[in-house]
Symmetry: C2
Subunit: 222 residues, 2 copies
DNA sequence: TGACAACCGGAATGGTCATTCCGTTAGGCT
DNA sequence: AGCCTAACGGAATGACCATTCCGGTTGTCA
């Protein structure tokens, strides 16, 4: 047992051994190189076969042994999380900028659109988003932060009159969840995802909305 | 239960051994009883823990051994399919009636609503629907039939002017898929599912739709 | 250049299922 | 009542994986 590490670093991303010293120094060159190879391999393997693909496939694709994969990511979950973080980072950034825009509705739409693009290109992201959306409590991870920012953007878009006022953050969770899943299931066809988004978007901005409260009567039908 | 289907035995439902003789005669009483117990147990176990729940849990809940479960359903998949068929049957019936209604829009909405209810009460149904929706080729199973009928209903609702004309059957697949997943992920809260449906519905019936074709520009934003 | 960790690879381990096998039990029919 | 066989139950089997272990390799630093 050689795990003298005392520093926890960021939970999950840089786990057990010391890939990076407590202060952030890089360590051995081959280790850094391998970490990158593993990330790239995981990216492609998980994208192609979903997160259920065996760790050994990731290792093979990376040209290393499983042991090496586990040296860098103490757990499969940690590996997935690391990749997801890569995808989410830019989205968080975009959401931040959007909050400062004077066109909240457009910014919100573009955020959804960007999210959709990522979703299409990397399936596991969908699962991660969906899982996070479960309860948007406090923002501790990037995923949570993204959800939080998206909610803020939603509120601003509502204040601006672009989005119907009766939509709640929980609905956003559900919509994202559904969006994610639909894209997951039809990964190959980005066009479909775009159509789906357009429809939901129209539902969000409708001027003559079906009451969301109780009765569930179609506003336009009948 | 009520499976008005005229068809002999649906492939997969009554497999290997002779739960029913080739001509359809019932067989031993205890066998029939156990089959029912297994179905009920599977229903509740899968609903509670998802289809990934072990067959042994189903057997225990039914008060029988795994061997007995396999005597009635040659495969886990066959068991799931049998339960799903129970849930889909009534929906197919409703869709049929809806096709004869003079209010296609309302009928379509009510079908979605009923589907949603089933989805909320039985998670695996979501997966099954989503899986089927993949390609709505020919209607050979009940699932396919449901999708086909729903598409027909959609077309009629469009002809009646309730649903925007640029919505395609593929979009329906995606929407159902997303709907299913959202309900799967938030099984406990039917209220949320209803809200989600209302939003999507408004997107479907909007009078001022975002073009579904190319540019992906928000119609109301900016 | 030599020594010492840090790293590496991949076989071995442990756990979780679906599915099969077979000795035992008990409906149904004469 | 007694036989014959469909049905049972549940231990055993086989696959698939994540994760761990440890002897061998190789950057790095003095």
């Amino acid at each position: 047992m050689t795990i003298p590490v005392v520093n926890p670093t960021v939970a999950g991303s840089e786990p057990g051994p010391a890939v990076a010293a407590p202060d952030g120094s890089p360590t051995r060159a081959d280790a850094r190189r391998n970490r990158a190879k593993v990330m790239a391999a995981a990216q492609s393997v998980f994208a192609a076969h979903g997160v259920s693909a065996p760790m050994e496939d990731v290792a093979r694709q990376a040209g290393v042994g499983v042991g090496t994969v586990y040296r860098h990511f103490s757990t499969k979950e940690a590996l997935v999380e690391a990749i997801v973080a890569d995808h989410i980072g830019p989205l968080v950034e975009q959401a931040r900028l959007g909050l400062e825009s004077d066109d909240p509705g457009g910014a919100f739409f573009r955020l959804l659109q960007a999210l959709l693009d990522e979703l299409v290109s990397f399936r596991p992201l969908a699962e991660a988003i969906a899982a996070t959306a479960e309860h948007l409590a406090g923002a501790r991870s990037q995923k949570d932060e993204l959800v939080t920012l998206a909610v803020a953007l939603l509120t601003r878009a509502q204040d601006a009159g672009t989005i119907r006022p009766d939509v709640q953050p929980e609905d956003l969770e559900l919509l994202l969840s559904g969006l994610a899943h639909a894209c997951d299931r039809h990964g190959g066809n980005q066009g479909n995802g775009a159509r789906y988004l357009a429809i939901v978007w129209d539902g969000l901005r409708t001027a003559d909305p079906t009451p969301l409260g109780g009765g569930l009567l179609p506003a336009g039908g009948h």
